[in-house]
Symmetry: C2
Subunit: 330 residues, 2 copies
Amino acid sequence: MSIKIGILGYGNLARGVESAITQNDDLELAAVFTRRDPAAVRIRTEGVPVFSQDKLEEDGMKDLIDVLIICGGSATDLPVQTPKYAELYNVVDSFDTHANIPAHFANVDAAAKKGGHVGIISCGWDPGMFSLNRLYMNCILPEGKDYTFWGKGVSQGHSDAVRRIDGVLDARQYTIPVEEAVKSVRRGENPELTTIEKHTRECFVVAAEGADLARIEHDIKTMPNYFDEYDTTVYFISAEEMQRHHAGLPHGGNVIRCGVTGMDKEHTHVIEYSLKLDSNPEFTGSVLAAYARAIARMSAEGRTGAVTVFDVAPAYLSAQDPAGLRAHLL
Amino acid sequence: MSIKIGILGYGNLARGVESAITQNDDLELAAVFTRRDPAAVRIRTEGVPVFSQDKLEEDGMKDLIDVLIICGGSATDLPVQTPKYAELYNVVDSFDTHANIPAHFANVDAAAKKGGHVGIISCGWDPGMFSLNRLYMNCILPEGKDYTFWGKGVSQGHSDAVRRIDGVLDARQYTIPVEEAVKSVRRGENPELTTIEKHTRECFVVAAEGADLARIEHDIKTMPNYFDEYDTTVYFISAEEMQRHHAGLPHGGNVIRCGVTGMDKEHTHVIEYSLKLDSNPEFTGSVLAAYARAIARMSAEGRTGAVTVFDVAPAYLSAQDPAGLRAHLL
């Protein structure tokens, strides 16, 4: 019997989840829920209804949905939505405001326990697969140091920040790891790296006709938190170039840990996990889909409350039975 | 309270476990067990007793040991030792004969359930961390293909095989991935690779005085299963060169999966996990130590039977509490 998935929201990430579901025979998209007018939302899976999100609070929905994947933003949507719906459904979210994870976890945990459900928060690749790898690396090599590099990839938050500058019509920001820094870490040199030494930033900007380009460039490069601590390069391009060369949402990065072993710490080891993604939202959606399977199973076993990727035994993610996994993947 | 570890055997892997224990404050080496004369075994941790392995069957030992890490060989030791001691202790082994994993799992499972213990088999890096990564990659990108490359590193099995050739005094065999193959996989080309296209082999050989070097080289290159399907290069060196340049046991490798997502499979993603290890036995020993912690906890929670790395939730591996992990590593 397949696991029935509901998706809340229908932006890039939700569409990534939708396409991931088509690649997993045991998952089935049951419905999409939106805060917009459902009649105005056209989804790509045929025969699947689109409902108003209010419908999630109706009793009949509970039989339709085994797991609700919540595809809202971390700033204002998820802190409200995930606890609210964790009381009613098994839920998955991709909450990524690292500093607020403990509070969000506590809220989802209380709601999920109250409703007898399981909720996994902060799923995706960072937080998510990168976190998992940091954990495994730290446990295997307790004496060492790890580094996370992001990119080359589009940062949506930074792109949005540039778009808010007066005179900017469109913008795309790429985060780029500094190659020499990555190589030094890979060589096991455990360098001390400042922010500017780890990543550079590139902005492609479509400016309004007659806009003061020098002022825009200055506003970008001095923007606090977003750009002021980085080497940033700004390119002004046409709307057509933006569409032709910068329509995608690629991303990726590396987590690298270098550590020592031996009675005299005489041996060095380097563990690296890396991602090269053509589509950040589709890859993230694929991670959410796999964890939806996992929490459907954990819920069926009677588990309740909030969990993270740290709490999910890897076998729960797979559609294959444990004996098959041992025979073919171990 | 620390977790008391027993080690069975005292070869390279056991010494790797011993040094890993010194790096984990919550683990404590309680005793080493050997089939040799205990008086002849000098271990590197002060104040820890060495016992005959027969002592493992005495009742008093059960209070001394929370987890027994069994450091025997996969060919003849572990198939006997792990089921035998799983009835008496929580056990960890690094059984690596892939084809026999299902049978070994069944034997350990029955014994561990009978004794009320947990036994984890096939722990290390392959099987082990490589298997884990294959599993995660397959679950996230169900449509794709994965590749495992080993090396550059010393293969003990191949080194032993060369040493058995008449006229060979000592030998070291390095397995080396073919760089062009690795690059093609990383580029997402999903190449079809034959055995010879994935790895080459290099042998460093110390020959007896007057030995027929051409015959030794021929015997190596044509050895069935070990070398006949590979491009193998043989170097004859002096015993002194062997000692100076080839005393270590480095290893490593890469697991790479390339897969597609999207309604039209239009996006490609590459996930890679790689290891560069100065000391294969010390790294493997470090993995075994972390999983010893995990199964001590699973046993304390009442779990029994055999498990593999697939069944262990990542948080069990860490000495940090779950809230700390969420705050610092997620």
